[in-house]
């Protein structure tokens, strides 16, 4: 056996003096405006000028709440070289060089970005040398110290490393000068966000991903800070590995509570990829205990998990065709082969606990039983790209991982393969999806985070369509004819993410819906409202209504609007806006409302068919796609629900 090396022992001498938490700051949390309060802020008293007092959000802000860079262990292993700084630069519209060496630029800037690198294995180095300047008794140490002060920190750092290797490090350097040449990746991430956060123009959020993945079952959550570095810096991200971390979301919630209690800051969590959790994402029975979820679980979950990332590169999670057989749009970019590492195949009984719509329904059940709805979440889409590039447009898609950046190979390459289960996932199955849209009044951390907290958000699978969804008791058809639907919507109802209660006698909820297509994108096919409810026997139901649509079509006998058709020329990767409509506005009233039944309503906006990224690849690289490759896509947006409670 070898002896422990000197290096190892030296590495054991660590002083983290400078990393100790600062004293707690007494600050109140102002980030919890709920929709009821938000609604009250918008006076419904008529004034002459339609613009006076208009302080509601007028333009949705688009961003990505889930982007990895080379600082993520797996991204780095896949060859991602881009840093958080690169990621922010790209998102704000700059051209940068991707890890694969090719230039990359967005068609237009995003408004915000959360770099959410995995917390596990994030720390590049412990703070080995954080020490005190008075130890610089050794001349060599002093020289290095001065070099660092003079801006030559990197040179000194390298020499220190080489000295380590040769065993010639001065003894006093065990503690070293206050150099911090061994930075840590979390501090670097925070610093990058601080540098690129540009209130009013571009918001760079501080965040990370907590990656609970026991036995390959995806229970991942992204944690987003409302706060700046002064608070985020006081804490280190929560990890999943024992003994310090845990793979149980309950422990993450405790961590979030501890952070808020100590710093006065605010954080929220966004879960994703229930489709890869094998029935564990939205449980009725907790996988960790085998027992039904209890009061504490539902309360904590509803408190901390305000949003769910319902669409991303690894599959869409709004609905599953087996759960919603009457919904012809339910089978969208479906990934239902098994869990994240493809080690256990999917069985149909798992699906109910994986998809957004079924979770929203089960949430009503749990609320009836336990008094709190744990699955009362708003919706966002995001990329989960591991490239540092939030590039989710079909004709400008930079893949999920670095090997999936544009190349002639990606149309035919294999992404996941498990020999034991026989599950294979091809690169072409990865979706160019999606983004988070937020109705915030200002482009700042505070304003966007607060809108997330009150769930005034929607998911898009990539296009930047503007989607409004208001619920109330008094919307009438004339409201869809006004010049300013936003003002009417806030004036007479609650926006997406809000609540309706206490139905006035004899009234059914009515909804003002509006959608404007992406200014450089495809026309819209239809605006649908998805309703879910709980009947008096405790059973849940769902129904999809077509409420607005483009072109000269009529509702069929089955209550559905016929297909809009397709203009896609797959071979040339083109389409035309000759079908559908650029804008849809309507008022819809629930025709089968029962004031005794709990319900939720959310909007789903369907685009006309367009070429999928695979069609652009086939055209640009001249590659022949594999048999069965999907070449067209029907993009969509999903709004946060509005809930009704008797």
């Amino acid at each position: 056996m070898k002896k422990p090396s000197a290096k190892l022992i030296i590495a054991g001498f660590v002083c983290l003096g400078s990393a100790l938490p600062a004293a707690a700051q007494e600050t109140t949390d102002v980030g919890t405006l709920d929709s009821a309060k938000a609604g009250k802020a918008f006076s419904s008293k008529p004034v002459y000028s339609p613009y006076a007092g208009r302080n509601f959000p007028t333009r949705p802000l688009f961003g990505d709440t889930h982007l990895h860079t080379g600082a993520s262990f797996d991204a780095g292993a896949f060859g991602a070289r881009l840093t958080p700084r690169d990621a922010y630069r790209f998102a704000r519209g700059e051209e940068i060089t991707a890890s694969s060496g090719q230039p990359a630029k967005l068609s237009r800037p995003l408004d915000f970005l959360v770099v959410a690198d995995h917390s596990d294995n994030m720390g590049m180095f412990p703070d080995l040398f954080a020490g005190k300047p008075e130890v610089i008794s050794d001349p060599q140490a002093k020289t290095w110290y001065e070099e660092i002060k003079a801006g030559q920190g990197g040179k000194a750092a390298l020499e220190i490393i080489f000295s380590f290797g040769k065993g010639t490090l001065p003894k006093s350097m065990i503690y070293g000068p206050e150099t911090r040449p061994y930075k840590n990746a979390w501090q670097d991430t925070i610093k990058a966000a601080e540098e690129y956060n540009d209130p009013g123009r571009f918001t760079a959020f501080i965040g990370y991903e907590w990656t609970s993945n026991t036995a390959g079952n995806n229970l991942h959550r992204n944690v987003v800070f409302r706060d700046n570095a002064d608070r985020a810096d006081q804490v280190v991200p929560y990890t999943t590995l024992k003994p310090l971390g845990s793979d149980n979301p309950r422990d993450l919630w405790k961590w979030m509570q501890a952070y808020e209690d100590k710093t006065g800051g605010s954080v929220l969590a966004i879960a994703h990829n229930g489709n890869l959790s094998n029935g564990r994402m939205f449980p009725l029975i907790e996988s960790f205990t085998g027992k039904p979820v209890d009061k504490e679980y539902v309360e904590q979950r509803s408190r901390w998990e305000r949003l769910y990332e319902t669409t991303q590169t690894k599959g869409d999670g709004e609905a599953h065709p087996v759960l919603s057989p009457n919904d012809e749009f339910a089978d969208f970019e479906t990934w239902d082969f098994g869990n994240l590492d493809a080690s256990v195949p999917k069985t149909p009984d798992m699906l109910e606990f994986e998809y957004t719509r079924s979770a929203l329904k089960n949430g009503l059940k749990l609320e009836a039983e336990l008094g709190t709805n744990p699955y009362k979440f708003g919706l966002v889409g995001s990329s989960d790209a591991h490239t540092g590039l939030a590039a989710m447009e079909e004709e400008n898609f930079f893949g999920k991982t670095t090997p999936q950046e544009p190349s002639p190979e990606r149309l035919t390459a294999t992404f996941v393969k498990d020999a034991k289960t026989g599950i294979t996932v091809m690169d072409w199955e990865v979706g160019a999806s999606g983004y988070a849209a937020v109705w915030a009044t200002e482009n700042t951390r505070e304003s966007i985070w607060d809108a997330m907290q009150r769930k005034e958000t929607y998911a898009t699978t990539g296009p930047r369509m503007a989607v409004r969804f208001f619920g109330g008791w008094d919307f009438e058809p004339a409201d869809a004819e006004t010049r300013n639907p936003g003002a009417i919507g806030y004036g007479k109802g609650v926006p997406m993410g809000g609540d309706l209660t206490a139905a006035p006698e004899g009234k059914a909820p009515s909804f003002l819906v509006a959608a404007l297509r992406d200014p450089i994108g495809a026309n819209l096919d239809r605006y649908q409202i998805v309703k879910g409810w709980l009947d008096d026997k405790g059973e849940t139901h769902e129904q999809v209504y077509d409420v607005a649509w483009g072109g000269d079509r009529k509702l069929g006998a089955d209550g559905k609007v016929p297909s809009v058709g397709s203009t896609v020329d797959t071979e040339n990767a083109t389409w035309t806006n000759t079908i559908g409509a650029p804008e849809l506005i309507a008022v819809w009233k629930d025709p089968s409302f029962d004031p005794q039944q709990e319900a939720f309503y959310y909007g789903r906006v369907i685009e006309i068919p367009t070429p999928r990224w695979t069609a652009y690849d086939a055209k640009r690289f001249g590659t022949k796609p594999l048999e069965g490759t999907r070449m067209t896509v029907i993009e969509r947006a999903y709004t946060s629900p509005i809930w009704y409670r008797p």
């Binding site: 054991g12 100790l20 065990i174 639907p485 200014p519 483009g550 804008e583």
Partner: protein
């Protein structure tokens, strides 16, 4: 689990009692001498000075500073110090990891492992990266950088305008005609409230002063280019967008300009630092490269083009 006691007794004393402040202060006050003494002991004992330990079993020393580091990470994670039991858990896990890592290294499991190699490369690059704090520019340097990269920092032109929207789906064949009569009405009666005209839309009818990029986000970039050429004051159009036709009145226009350093100091400093960082990294890599003679063989069957 290996039952390992902390090497130095004092680190194990953090019990569950509420002593966070005291504990932290104590860590800060810890005499340096203590560390040095320990260091020397361990150096002497474990071969740094060339002492061979012969057949004795390998030794794992969980040093006091290592324990402190673990305790500090715990404290930063949970915003409270670990209990004695929690600290023991951390130490036991560290020992387990240390043993497995040593075994793996002996078996050479680190060699030719893509992930390990990439991680090592990443660590070197991370070290190689210049510290932002150590790079500080003078005002003269920043000013020169701003002048040399004026386009990067340019404040975009801003426009404020009103618009009346006509939806082709609603108007059908009368679209052009309707647009003409709306324009006529607006021009004839300057007191006319434009919000009474046109079709319902999510597009704002009255946009306050906004930069061209942000207008483009809503109306499309081509529309903004047309808008930019319209003289202020008068209703004009119709202008085509991806959504339909618009009658436009530009109410205010602020041309783009290069800002002064004071206006954009942070952004200039950030970009200057990034550029400098890149330059230093390249320079450092060039220095490393000098230590090697790199010879690249032609792959068999490769072309012979120069």
């Amino acid at each position: 689990m290996p039952a390992v006691k902390p090497a130095a007794g004092r680190s194990g004393s953090a019990s569950g009692e509420r002593v966070s402040t005291i504990y932290l202060k104590r860590v800060l006050r810890e005499p340096l001498v203590h560390f040095l003494a320990l260091a020397l002991l361990i150096f002497a004992g474990y071969g740094l000075l060339g002492v061979d330990t012969g057949d004795k079993p390998d030794t794992i020393v969980v040093t006091a500073p290592k324990i402190e580091q673990m305790a500090t990470v715990f404290t930063k994670t949970w915003q409270r110090p670990p209990t004695a039991e929690e600290l023991k858990g951390l130490i036991d896990d560290y020992v387990k990891e240390e043993i497995l890592v040593r075994q793996a290294l002996e078996l050479g499991l680190d060699r030719d492992d893509t992930v390990v190699r990439r991680r090592l490369r990443q660590k070197m690059e991370f070290l190689n990266a210049a510290d932002a704090e150590t790079l500080t520019a003078t005002d003269a340097e920043l000013d020169a950088y701003l002048k040399a990269n004026a386009a990067t920092f340019e404040i975009a032109p801003m426009l404020a305008f009103q618009q009346v929207f006509l939806n082709p789906q609603r108007r059908g064949e009368t679209l052009a005609q309707d647009a003409a009569s709306v324009r006529e009405a607006l021009l004839t009666d300057p007191a006319m409230d434009p919000s009474l005209l046109g079709d319902p839309t999510l597009l704002p009818s009255d946009l306050p002063l906004s930069d061209k990029t942000s207008i483009g986000q809503t109306f499309g970039a081509e529309f903004v280019e047309v808008l930019d050429k319209i003289p202020a004051g008068q209703w004009t159009g119709p202008v085509n967008s991806g959504f339909g036709l618009h009658l436009i009145r530009v109410t205010e226009r602020v041309p783009g300009r290069v800002p002064t350093l004071d206006e954009v100091r942070d952004a200039v400093a950030r970009e200057w630092t990034n550029a400098k960082r890149k330059e230093l990294e390249d320079q450092r890599f060039a220095e490393l490269l000098k230590r090697y003679v790199v010879s690249i063989e032609s792959p068999a069957g490769a072309g012979t083009d120069p």
